[in-house]
Homo-oligomer: 363 residues x 2
């Protein structure tokens, strides 16, 4: 019996999402190195093993350490290496194949002063997201970084890593596809330039929108999507998934009804869902869509019903007068999260429809 | 030695914030019932006892249970009562003075079917925030709710509770003051109507902006501010605090520098700071301000320097060319959180400048 905000996981949908992405990688003959920052759970990690996964991606050195405790021994930390963490890096580097990401010679030299264990080093290339990475066309900085890696015998240059994060700006699968193709074009140019010198270099890319929409990965050797394991409303809006593929909703108790403004209030706020939102066409904010809960899952989204505001513990939901009449205090409704990664991170635990509680890192 | 994102607390500033608010309540002869949802910590809770605090506010029944374990025995849950939690309510109601908040006769009747322990009941009145509460002028619904409470001998009507949450829209202390005065006007009218019948009723209000700015609380009997314990950049923008009163910053390692776009990247993202932001006048988003860290605290905010974007683990900071030249990979900088309550909730632990680690509920 659910009595407080609870993140629900439809394991069947989740397994289908994993199966489908693993099959796509296999069809393309490329490495599938899923990002585990979305589910953050040893339990869900084990589900991937059934699909042949033995290499993973994480977003922090702490997360690498967490998954290393469960037998994962080939882990990429897809985040610019934090040289202050040299002790943890050394410890992990002596135990597993630890793949790190760099984007400057400075970081490489600083790291080499402190870390003596072998590290697999990838250079991050910015293919347009402008978050991290050396801009695609800055060959001077790429070569400087490459040369700095070669100075240290225990550092092995492995390839280039990209993240087409600007795919999150897309609002249709066609837009995602255009971004993918442009990014592929940059990556192919990189390969043309560097493969003659480094015939085994790996080109790794990863973001759920392009990996979901594209069928052909051209020169790509490895994909690292993460969010696809659960998807969410954002991915649906982007055009990366069908609603039926979204494997998570937040069950929330109804605590107040306000017919005068066609709204009701649930226990379910920023500390449960996080504060990511999508702008609707009228400029108002959509912090999540509403579904009805059933024993075996949940309904389609209610029409014209949105989480319009979130405070620490409150979710404010605007709906139609007709739907509002069917709601009463003490009901449970479901909210499809805008961003499942952040909802998981906020909750640190979720419940399968079969009633199994799954704990995440830091729970 | 800090090596990963760490929330720092200046205990001295925090104690001054508590002292100042406690003194203001005392001067006004009103009850000081601070909201503990901001610090969420037994340790910080104990600091309040030195200022004579013996009544507190929380935002969930779970949080009430948490603080009850540390001897707090008069707790208000300032959230519309969630009737599904009747077991926890019964358990707590049998141990401590448990003050709940209702806003409909429906909720009262549902609760009475399940809970037999004594409860102190407050009716929530909406003074303009449009989040929860019976609209101030809806006397029909106020009376219905009042009458429903009187039907049950174990439910004691105690008074009205308000939250002037729209004060967060203010951008100067004058605007906060206007909102406070308007809200006081509503509250005084309520008192005029209901005091003849309920001479001991308590009028409780609470939000950090109005409690920080106002010096006179007129007919108010009790204040419940929470965020003031740490304050944050949002409160500074609202006009509720001076920068020197902000008692928290997030220490973040610098992991990448991008001179081509006057930006640098830190480890410190949405999972650390939450995604609250303030719109700047040019329409761009400000997810936090930057300070330099020192052993005994931090500097003033850097000029023209902002967190412009947050993803799960990344913070992107735009600054001036001049300041950027002074930054290198491996440095630690501080980010003043936009909303300290949510940063605390995301981190669940913080570190005093003296190096003491403080754990929060759910750590």
């Amino acid at each position: 019996m659910i009595t407080s905000p609870t993140l629900l996981l439809d394991k069947r949908k989740c397994l289908k999402n994993i199966e489908s992405m693993a099959a796509k990688a296999k069809r393309n003959g490329i490495i599938f190195r899923p990002h585990f920052k979305t589910h953050q759970s040893l339990e869900v990690g084990r589900w991937f093993k059934d699909f042949g996964v033995d290499k993973i991606t994480v977003s922090s050195m702490q997360m690498a350490a967490y998954f290393a405790t469960d037998g994962w021994n080939d882990i990429t930390v897809a985040f610019p290496v934090n040289v202050l963490e040299h002790e943890l890096i050394s410890e992990l580097g002596s135990k597993i194949t630890l793949n790190i990401q760099v984007e400057s010679a400075d970081a490489v030299h600083l790291l080499a002063q402190k870390v003596r264990t072998p590290l697999q080093v990838y250079i991050k290339i910015d293919v347009g997201t402008q978050r991290t990475g050396i801009p695609f066309s800055d060959f001077g900085r790429i070569d400087d970084t490459l040369n700095s890696i070669k100075e240290y015998a225990h550092f092995q240059f492995c390839g280039f890593i990209t993240h087409t994060g600007h795919s999150y700006q897309a609002r249709s699968s066609e837009e995602v596809m255009n971004i993918h193709l442009k990014s592929m074009d940059f990556i192919n140019q990189l390969k043309d330039i560097y493969v003659p010198q480094y015939p085994n270099l790996i080109l790794s890319t990863g973001d759920t929108p392009t990996c979901s929409v594209a069928d052909d990965f051209l020169e790509i050797d490895e994909i690292r999507p993460g969010n696809f394991v659960f998807y969410d409303w954002m991915q649906h809006i982007i055009g990366a998934c069908h609603f039926d593929q979204i494997a998570m909703v937040m069950a929330c108790p109804v605590v107040a009804i306000h017919p005068n403004r066609q709204e009701f209030v649930v226990h379910g706020g920023a500390v449960h869902l996080s504060k990511d939102f999508i702008f609707k066409t009228d400029g108002s904010r959509d912090y999540g869509r509403i579904v009805s809960l059933a024993n075996n899952g949940w309904s389609s989204p209610w029409e014209q019903s949105y989480v319009t505001a979130l405070s620490q513990e409150h979710g404010i939901i605007r709906t139609t007068s007709e739907l509002l009449k069917q709601i009463k205090v003490g009901d449970l409704i479901g909210i499809v999260p805008i961003h499942s990664c952040l909802s998981v991170s906020a909750m640190r635990t979720y419940l399968t429809l079969e009633g199994k509680s799954i704990q995440c890192m830091g729970y």
